[in-house]
Symmetry: C2
Subunit: 417 residues, 2 copies
C-alpha cells in the first residue's frame, strides 16, 4: 500500500520533490526515477554527440536543480546516495591498483601533486588579488583551486577501461598525495583565518594523515590476506566475503576521516587492500553498485550550480577567468612535473587532475561560513568547481584517444560494445 | 580532505549520529559502518545459534535505536537506503517468478489473501474491543493486522534458495493480492474515520490498483521483450541494459504508488517483467545491491521499537496478546485457505504471511496522526509489527526444513557453503 501517495497527484510533483525539511526524500522511488532517469537520458545524448556521458549527468543536475527547473533541491537522501556512490567508485578504482605500485610511484606522484598544488594556489590567489579581493578572500580562492576531485576522472577512465594505463595509475597516486596536501593547505588557511595558526597542530595533522595512508598501504594488504580467509572459514551467515569487504570499506572510510583525509581516500585504499583477495563476486557488486549510484553523485554536483547568480555579467567574466586559471594551472603544474614520463603521459596526467568538483565546493562553503569569501566570490568558486568537472572529461577522452582498454576491463568493454 | 570531521572526536560519536535535524546523515561513512557492521555482527551471532540472521539484523536496530544505546535515530539517510534496499529485494525476488505463474496462481492466491485479511482484521478488532478500545481505535488495530510485509519472508526464502518452491510462489502471489486488499481496507477505514466514507471513491481506488497490477502482468513482459532489444541496440552509453532495467524498476515503483499500491509491489512486478530478458549481469547487480542495502531496511524496522514504552506492565501483556493474535490469525486464515494444497504447504504459506513489519507500523502512524489510536495502542501495534517480523523467520525456517535449494539458486547456495 502506498500510504504516502494517497494525497498526491501528478501536478504536485515538483513542489512535492523540492519540499525541503520534513518532506525530504519522503517519496524515495520518485526521486530515484527522476534523478537516475534524467542523468542517463543526458548521458545518452552526450554519448551520441561523441562527448563523455559524465558531463551529461552533471548537466542533468543543473537542469533539475534550483538553477533551471527547480524540481530537486540538494537534500539528505541525495547526499547519502551520492556519498555512497563515490565511496564505491573509489573502492572499485582502488581494486585496479596494487599497493606495491602506489608505493613505487610515491616519489614521482608526490612531485606531481606538489606542483599541482603550488601552481593553482598561486594562480588563484593572484587572480583574486588582481581582481581586488581582500587578502583572506584571495587565499581562500587559491585554496579552492588546490584539491583535485578524483572521482570524475576515475569514472571517465573506468568507463573506458583505462585504469591500468601508466598515466592513469600516476593520476590515482598523485590524487592520494594531493588530498593530504590539500588537507594541510586548508588547515593552515583556516587556522590563519581564525587567527590561531599553530605549527604544532599542523604537524600533528599532517603526521596523522600521512601515517594513516602509509599504515594502510604497508600493513593493509598483508593483514587482509591473513585475516580474510580465517573470517571466511569461521563465519556462518551467507555472503561472508561480501560482508567482510563492505565492513573494510566503511571502516577505512571512517578511519580516513578521523585521520583528516577524505573518506574516498579510505575507500580507495580499501579497494587496493582487498584487490588481491577479492572474489569476482565482490568486484561485480562493487561495479554494479557504482553504476547504480554514481549518477546521484554527478547530479549532486550539478545541483550546486545556481545559474541565477550569474545575472551580473561581471561575475560571468570572473568565473570564466577563474575556470581558465583552474584548468591551466593544474595542467601546467602536474604536466610539467610529469614531463620526464614523456609529453603524452604528462598531458594525460595534467588533464586528469583538472576536476575540482565537490572538493572545491566544500572549500567555498567553508570560506563563506567563515566570512572569508563574499557572495560573488563564493558563486564564482562553486561555478568554477562545476565547470572544471565538465571541461575535464572531453579533454581526458581526447588525451587518451586511441588507447585500447587493457586488462580484465578489455573483455567487459568489448562485450558492452 | 575530510572537512566535516575536523571538529569531531571519538567521544562525540553517539551525539553526532543521533543529532536529528541539520546533522542527519552528515557523516555518511560512519552511519554506514555502524549500521551495517552491527547488523552483520548480530546476524552472524544468530546464525551461530541456528537462528535466521534477519532476526539479528532487526535486533541490531533495536539495540542501536532510542530503545537501548540511543546511537542512531531514524533519519532521512537511513530511510533512503532502507527504501532502496527493499525495492531491490522485491525486484530480485520478482525475477524468480514468471508472470504466467502469477496469473495461474491468481485465483487460489486471492482466496489465501482474502482469508488472510478477514481473519486478522476481525481478531485485531475483537481483541482491542474486548480490551476496552473505542470503536475507531479497535478498527485501526484490526487494520494494522491486515497487511503482510513480504520483504522479511522474501529475504529468508531468498537467502535459502527456496523462492522457486510451490509454497513460496503462492506466498508471493498472495502478498501482491494482500497489498491491494490492504489498500482497500485502509481507504475504507480512514474514510470512515474522517466521516467521509464514499463508495465511488473506494471503487475507483480499487479499480486503479487492480488495473495497474493486471496491466503490468499481462502487457509488461511482452512489451519489454519488444522494446528492450531495440533500446539495447540504439543506446550508446555503456551499461545500457543496466540503465534500462533500473529505469524500469524505478518507473514501476512510482507507477505503483500512483495507483495506490506499495512501491515494492511495483518493484516486484518490474523484476517479473524483466526476468526473461535480464542478463546475468543485471541479476548480479540486483543481488549485490540487495545484500548491501537490506541490512538498512532491517535495522530501520528495529529502530522503530522504543522499549521505554513498556515500563507499563499492562502494555506488555496487551502487546503479547496482540502479537499472538497477529501470528495465529494469519496462519489460520491463509493456512486454512491453502489447505487444498496439502497440510505442509498450507503451514508454510501461513507462516510466510505472518510478518507485518513496516506496513503495520505505517498504519499505526496514520492512526496516531488521525487521533484514532491512543499512545498505548500505538506502542502496542508498533511492537506487534516488529515482533511478527522476528517470530516469523524461525517459523519459516522450520516449515521449510529439509527442502533442498532449487533452480539457479542451488548452485549459488552450494558455492557459498
Amino acid at each position: 500500500m502506498a500510504y504516502t501517495a494517497t494525497s498526491m497527484n501528478i501536478s504536485m510533483i515538483p513542489a512535492f520533490l523540492i519540499g525541503g525539511g520534513v518532506d525530504d526524500g519522503l517519496n524515495v522511488p520518485l526521486t530515484l526515477l527522476i534523478v537516475f532517469g534524467a542523468a542517463k537520458l543526458l548521458a545518452e545524448a552526450f554519448e551520441w554527440m561523441g562527448q563523455p556521458g559524465v558531463v551529461g549527468e552533471i548537466l542533468a543536475g543543473v537542469a533539475l536543480g534550483p538553477g533551471l527547473l527547480g524540481w530537486i533541491a540538494p537534500n539528505e537522501s541525495l547526499k547519502t546516495l551520492a556519498d555512497l556512490g563515490v565511496l564505491f567508485l573509489l573502492f572499485r578504482v582502488g581494486m585496479e591498483m596494487k599497493p606495491s605500485e602506489l608505493i613505487r610511484l610515491g616519489g614521482k606522484a608526490t612531485g606531481v601533486a606538489v606542483a599541482g598544488v603550488v601552481v593553482p594556489f598561486l594562480m588563484g590567489w593572484g587572480l583574486a588579488a588582481w581582481y581586488g579581493s581582500r587578502m583572506i578572500e584571495a587565499v581562500f580562492v587559491g585554496t579552492a583551486l588546490v584539491a583535485t576531485s578524483v572521482g570524475i576522472t576515475a569514472q571517465v577512465l573506468a568507463a573506458r577501461g583505462l585504469l591500468k594505463e601508466k598515466a592513469s595509475q600516476m593520476i590515482l597516486a598523485a590524487a592520494v598525495v594531493d588530498d593530504v596536501l590539500g588537507l594541510l593547505v586548508l588547515a593552515a588557511v583556516s587556522g590563519s583565518a581564525a587567527g590561531e595558526f599553530d605549527w604544532r597542530k599542523l604537524l600533528l595533522t599532517s603526521g596523522l594523515a600521512v601515517g594513516f595512508v602509509l599504515a594502510a598501504l604497508f600493513w593493509g594488504a598483508p593483514m587482509m590476506k591473513r585475516v580474510g580467509p580465517v573470517l571466511d572459514r569461521k563465519m556462518r551467515a551467507a555472503e561472508s566475503q561480501l560482508t567482510v569487504a563492505m565492513v573494510a570499506l566503511f571502516a577505512l572510510s571512517v578511519l580516513a576521516e578521523f585521520a583528516g583525509v577524505a573518506a574516498i581516500v579510505g575507500a580507495f585504499l580499501a579497494g587496493m587492500i582487498l584487490a588481491e583477495s577479492a572474489s569476482e563476486k565482490i568486484r561485480d557488486v562493487a561495479h554494479g553498485t557504482t553504476e547504480l549510484l554514481v549518477p546521484f553523485f554527478l547530479v549532486s554536483i550539478g545541483l550546486q550550480v545556481d545559474l541565477h547568480a550569474f545575472s551580473d555579467p561581471r561575475l560571468v567574466w570572473v568565473t570564466v577567468a577563474l575556470t581558465v586559471a583552474a584548468v591551466v594551472s593544474k595542467i601546467a603544474g602536474c604536466g610539467l612535473a610529469a614531463l620526464p614520463m614523456g609529453k603524452k603521459d604528462a598531458w594525460r596526467i595534467g588533464v586528469g587532475m583538472v576536476p575540482r568538483g565537490e572538493v572545491g565546493m566544500i572549500v567555498a562553503q567553508m570560506g563563506l561560513a567563515a566570512g572569508a569569501l563574499g557572495r560573488p566570490a563564493f558563486a564564482a568558486v562553486v561555478m568554477m568547481a562545476a565547470a572544471t568537472t565538465m571541461v575535464a572529461p572531453p579533454l581526458i577522452k581526447m588525451a587518451f584517444a586511441g588507447v585500447a582498454p587493457a586488462g580484465e576491463k578489455a573483455e567487459e568493454v568489448l562485450r558492452l560494445g
